[in-house]
C-alpha cells in the first residue's frame, strides 16, 4: 500500500476581512501558491480536487458550482465535502489509497466577512422542531451550556480557561498572519464581560477570512517532487450524534477520531509520541477538552498542566503555537485548514519566528462548530 504525503501547502490570509477579493480570488491566490511550491500544473498533474464548504456559510444553494475554475479543476474530478478541511484531507487520503488519484488537491476557505447575519446563520443549524425557536439568544449559548457542564464535572476554574486565551493570543503575536494576536494577561481576560455566563466575550473566537490549499500525493510522486514530504500518518473523523439529548458534551467525537487516527498512525502513547498539536479553540474551554481528547494529558490533569505551562510554546507539548482560532479567528470550515497548515509549516521548518525545535509528529484537530458533535483529526509526521 502506498503512503500518502502533503507535498505543498498554500494559503491566503488570514485577515479579519478581505474587501478587495471575492471568494474566488482568495481561492485562486492560495491555490496558485500551493501549485507553485509543488512545481505542478493543476491542469495536467492533478487527478482529484476536493473542496470543503457548507452552502449557507457561502450564501448559495449549491456552492460546488463556483469551485472548479479558480483551482484549475475545469472538467476534472472535483467534489465538495460538507465538512471541515480535515474531512477533505481524509477524503484525499482515501482516494489515493483506493487508487482513484495519484495527486489530489484539498481546499477550504472562509469568507466569513460576506455573511451579514452570522447569528441567524448559526441558528439555522439548529433542529427546527426541538430547539431553534427557543428564546432569542445568540446560538453561542449552546457552547456556553457545554462549558458550564464541563466546568462542573471536571472542576475547571475561570482562571484556567482564561489561561487558554492568554497563551493563544500571545502566541499569535509571533504569527504574521494572525489578525487577533495581542499581549494580554489573565487579569485582562477576567475583565472581559460575561456575555454567556460563564463564558466571556474574549473566549469566543471572532471571525476571519482566508483560504488553505494542500497538494497531497502518493509515495512515488511525493518522493519525486520533494525531498521532505510531510506524511499523513493517520486520519480520523467521528460523529457522536446530532441530538442534544444523547450528546456527551465532553468532546467524545474528538476522542474517537483521535483513536482512529492514532490506530492508522501506529501511535500507542500520544503523550510521549506527539510533539505538538493544533486543536480547535473557537471557544477557549474547547481547547482543554480537545487536548484531553487527543490523549495529550489525562482527565483532571489538563487544566493544571496548562497553568504550569506544559502546553506553552516552550513547554513539553506546545499546543496552538500558531495562535489558534483565538488569535487567528474563526475560519468556519477552514479552521482545520489553519490547524493542518501550521502543523505542516512547523514540520517543514517554515514557521518563521514561531518555529519549534526538533518536531517530528504533529496533530491537527477540528470540530464542526455549534451545534454539532463531530470532528476530525489528522496526524502528520516526517
Amino acid at each position: 500500500m502506498t503512503r500518502v504525503a502533503v507535498i505543498a501547502a498554500g494559503y491566503y490570509g488570514f485577515n479579519a476581512n478581505t474587501p478587495e477579493f471575492s471568494w474566488k480570488e482568495i481561492m485562486y491566490a492560495a491555490a496558485r501558491r500551493a501549485y507553485e511550491e509543488a512545481g505542478i500544473n493543476p491542469r495536467r498533474d492533478v487527478d482529484s480536487f476536493i473542496t470543503c464548504a457548507e452552502d449557507i456559510y457561502e450564501g448559495f444553494a449549491i456552492f460546488d458550482e463556483f469551485v472548479p475554475d479558480q483551482l484549475g479543476a475545469v472538467l476534472k474530478p472535483t467534489c465538495t465535502i460538507c465538512g471541515d478541511f480535515l474531512y477533505g484531507v481524509a477524503t484525499a487520503y482515501m482516494q489515493i489509497k483506493s487508487g482513484l488519484a495519484d495527486v489530489a488537491v484539498v481546499e477550504a476557505h472562509s469568507k466569513a466577512s460576506d455573511i451579514a447575519t452570522f447569528g441567524d446563520v448559526l441558528r439555522f443549524g439548529f433542529d427546527p422542531i426541538w430547539i431553534r425557536d427557543i428564546g432569542n439568544g445568540h446560538p453561542y449559548y449552546f457552547a456556553a451550556l457545554e462549558m458550564d457542564l464541563y466546568m462542573q464535572t471536571d472542576c475547571i476554574t475561570e482562571e484556567q480557561i482564561a489561561k487558554v486565551v492568554v497563551k493563544n493570543k500571545n502566541n499569535a503575536v509571533l504569527n504574521p498572519s494572525a489578525p487577533y494576536g495581542e499581549k494580554v494577561s489573565i487579569e485582562d481576560v477576567l475583565k472581559s464581560p460575561k456575555v454567556f455566563d460563564p463564558m466571556r466575550k474574549i473566549e469566543i473566537a471572532p471571525r476571519s477570512d482566508g483560504c488553505v490549499v494542500f497538494v497531497i500525493a502518493n509515495e512515488n510522486i511525493a518522493k519525486e517532487i520533494t525531498d521532505s514530504p510531510i506524511w499523513i500518518k493517520g486520519v480520523g473523523w467521528w460523529s457522536e450524534t446530532n441530538s442534544y439529548d444523547t450528546m456527551s458534551f465532553r468532546a467524545m467525537y474528538a476522542t474517537k477520531a483521535a483513536k482512529m487516527a492514532y490506530k492508522l498512525a501506529g501511535i500507542v502513547n500520544p503523550q510521549k509520541e506527539v510533539d505538538f498539536a493544533e486543536v480547535d479553540d473557537r471557544f477557549a474551554f474547547k481547547e482543554i477538552q480537545h487536548i484531553e481528547a487527543l490523549g495529550l494529558s489525562r482527565r483532571f490533569e489538563t487544566a493544571s498542566l496548562l497553568e504550569e505551562g506544559y502546553f506553552d510554546r516552550n513547554g513539553e507539548i506546545p499546543v496552538n503555537v500558531s495562535g489558534g482560532s483565538l488569535g487567528i479567528g474563526n475560519l468556519l470550515e477552514c479552521t482545520g485548514g489553519q490547524k493542518a497548515l501550521e502543523v505542516v509549516l512547523q514540520l517543514q521548518g517554515n514557521a518563521g519566528r514561531r518555529q519549534l525545535k526538533d518536531v517530528e509528529i504533529g496533530v491537527a484537530q477540528a470540530w464542526r462548530y455549534v451545534p454539532t458533535a463531530s470532528g476530525a483529526v489528522v496526524v502528520f509526521g516526517l
Binding site: 467534489c79 474531512y87 487508487g99 433542529d127 460523529s239
Partner: protein, 400 residues
Amino acid sequence: MRVEKISGLKFQKKQDVAIVGAGMTTWKRRLNETGRELCFLAIKQALEEAGIGFDEIEMVVMGSAPDTFDGMLMKGEYLLDGSGGSDRPYMRVFVGGGTGVFAPIAGYWHVASGLADVCLVVCEEKMSSCYPHPQSAFKYIWDPILERPLNPNLIWIFALEMRRYMHVHKIKHEDIALVSVKNKANALDHPCAQVAGKITVEDVLNSEPMALPVRRLDVSPPSDGAAALVMVSPYIARRLTDEPIWVTGVGWSLDTTWWTNRDLYFPRYVAEAAKMAYKMAHITDPRKEIDVAEPYDPFDYKELHHMEGLGLAKKGEAPILTREGVTARDGDLPVCPSGGLMGVGNPIAATMGVKACEIYWQLSYRAGKRQVAKEVTTGVCQAWGDLMQVGTVMVMSNKR
C-alpha cells in the same frame, strides 16, 4: 515544472467493492416524516435485504443536495442520527444533483481504500419543507451578482440547454416527449412511484408551458424521499451472498462555472466522467458492453443528452434509438427501466434509489416486474448536477 508525467499507479486499490443491499422509501410530493426518519426507514430496508446487522456498519456516507430544501445549515449533521451516523465516522458529500450517484462513489473509496469493510450510503431529500415552492430554493444556485438580479427560475437553464440540443441536432419535441411517455409507463411497475401513468406524446406537447420548450410533462416533480445502499469488502460479501454486485468503475467530473461560455448541446462533463469510469472498468465499446443503463432524467431531453454523453448513442442519435424502441424495457439497451425521475419522482440526491439501487436490483435479477427482458451482466448509472456542470458515473457488474 519538475513532474513530467504521472506514473501509472492509478486504479491500484486495496480491495474490491461489492453492493449487497439496497432500500428506498416511497417518494411523494410531501411526507410527514422528518428527514432523519426517512433515512431510518430506507436504511432499515437496506440492512434487512443485505442481511447484516446495524452494529456491523463501520462508516456512513451521506448524500444530500442543497441545504435550502430541508432548511438547515449543515444538513448532513442534522440528518446524522437517523442515518446511522451516531458514534461512527460519518461524512457528507455534495455535488449538487449529481450527488445521487456521487454518494455511492464516495462509498466506493471508503471501502476500496481499506478504511472500512462495511459502508452504509444514505441519500435523503425533503424538498417539501421549502416554501413558497421547492423551485424557489433554486434561486440561490445562480451567480449572486450577474444572474440572480434577473430573477431566474431553475427551469430556464434546462430550457436553454434543451433548445440548443434541439437546434444543433434538428430534433423535434415529439421525439423528446417519447422519453416522458416511456418512463412514466415504466414507473407503473415501481411501488414507490409518484407520477407514474399512461400518457401520450400529445399529452406532453399540449401540457402547460413552463419555460418553452419545456412543458409541464417534460419535467420531473419535486419529491420527498430517501434511499440507502450497503457497500462491503469482498470477504464480507462472500459471507452474505453468492451473488454480490461489484462496482467496476467510477468517474466524476466538474465543468467550468461559466455555463454561458460553453456550447450546451453536448454534456462533455458526463463524457469525461464516463471516460474515467470506463477506463477503470475496462470498457472500450459502451454501446455493446453495457446491458442496462440508468442515466439521469430530471427532464425528458436530459435522458437523451446523457445517453450521448455516456457513449451509449452517437451525438444526436439518442432520439432515434428511443423512437425505435431500443431503450424500452424489452429493447436491446433498456434505459431507465425503473421509470427514472420522470416517472418515480425527483428527490434530488435520493434519486440514488432509481439510479444506483435500480442497477443493483437489475443486475441481481430482483427487480420483479421491472426486470429487463435481456440477460444482464454490466450496468451503468449516471447523475448530473450544478449549472450543467457535474457528471457522475458508476459502472456495476454481476461478474467480478
